[in-house]
Symmetry: C2
């Protein structure tokens, strides 16, 4: 499948690489391609900047948001949640037809010297905001409740765990569920329509607390035991 | 231990009964004892009203909020989250000394024909509100992320699952952790100070969605797999 991954950060890099390795044709979308390729400074986790990372990956295309959205049969929003609507506007997502968009973003307000603050509540979510702003897209919210290495390989966690999906279009959810299966997901719970985004986005403060409490040494994820 | 359980609803009834069966001396606290004892109508789940339920339980004391708070070495807030501050005010909790209070409440706004709406966000939680209003108490937030039968018996769920605790006082958390052990809890994660209440209260919208998605037939709970 032709997949557009919007965002050149750690999440975008990892998903693009894993999807390409699984045989998909991938384009990473960014605001300004020239600028992104010049970004060679390692990030806070010591990972190479995008311009270095991409050097030995000629099979991964790089394009603007608009080129990527036009390229992909499926679009993955891996941009910073606070900038996602703007990125999709720049990418003319309103003209993309009824493509499936996976939103795995979270709106987090950085706070100096403290955990970031989640801006989701039981009236607002990024998933719903994307769906209502780009009514043509078929938005599926998923994968936002874990780190990116767990997203693309659930066996990273020492035990069976759960991924949630929600969205208004059953066929879009089936497409996404199939892609999740390629990543290795077995326990996929359908939470219903896109309003379920509130539930999965509101889990972030607990997730961030757990990251602190568990010491961050081992990846973790939630399992709905039943 | 002498334990006050504030609230005569399903949660209060269940916890009072289980704690009494485990050998604790229990008083259920309510706004108006006479009125509570006259309440004999079954609830929406077909369970007997408090006045009927209490008839064959002479070993469980019933008192006002003030009598119960004065009685208990440990206080459990099992009142409706929207009325908890008022109930504690009526019970003169500010004069209770530095007793340990377990808060398992959630602030949920009922919506006609729809799931209730969580009022918690990443700036507000009931646990913090109780702690800041009654600075003398040592508030421990726990058990609010599951149904009451799972609270008092985690083996109700088909598999090992997790309970969270948070609070500002380490000794209070140790007391509560010991009580959780009596219920059978093994995987108890300390989320740090009382601000962790935001995380566990914000999980409610996901919990309610899951209740719908899973059909409500089997009890469920979250496990932090790591």
């Amino acid at each position: 499948m032709k997949i557009a991954v919007l965002g050149t950060g750690m999440v975008g890099q990892n998903l693009a690489q894993v999807l390409a390795a699984k045989g998909h044709e991938v384009m990473i979308g960014t605001r300004d391609v020239g600028q992104a390729l010049q970004y060679k400074k390692p990030n806070g986790f010591g990972m190479p900047g995008f311009g270095v990372w991409v050097e030995d990956k000629p099979h991964i295309h790089v394009g603007t948001y608009a080129q990527s959205i036009s390229f992909g049969d499926l679009i993955i929003n891996a941009t910073n949640g606070n900038a996602s609507i703007e990125a999709l506007r720049m990418g003319k997502a309103d003209l993309a037809g009824n493509k499936v968009l996976i939103d795995l973003g979270n709106k987090l307000q950085p706070l100096p010297g403290s955990m970031p603050k989640s801006l989701a509540d039981d009236s607002h979510s990024l998933g719903e905001e994307i769906q209502s702003t780009f009514a043509n897209l078929r938005v599926v919210k998923t994968l936002n409740t874990m780190n990116t290495y767990v997203m693309s390989d659930p066996s990273t966690v020492a035990g069976d765990s759960t991924v949630f999906v929600c969205g208004n279009d059953a066929q879009a959810k089936a497409t996404v569920t199939s892609l999740l299966g390629e990543f290795g997901w077995k326990d996929i719970i359908d939470l219903g329509d896109i309003k379920g985004s509130r539930g999965v986005e509101m889990i972030l403060p607990l997730w961030l607390r757990l990251l602190g409490s568990l010491g961050g040494a081992k990846p973790f994820n939630f399992k709905v035991v039943r």
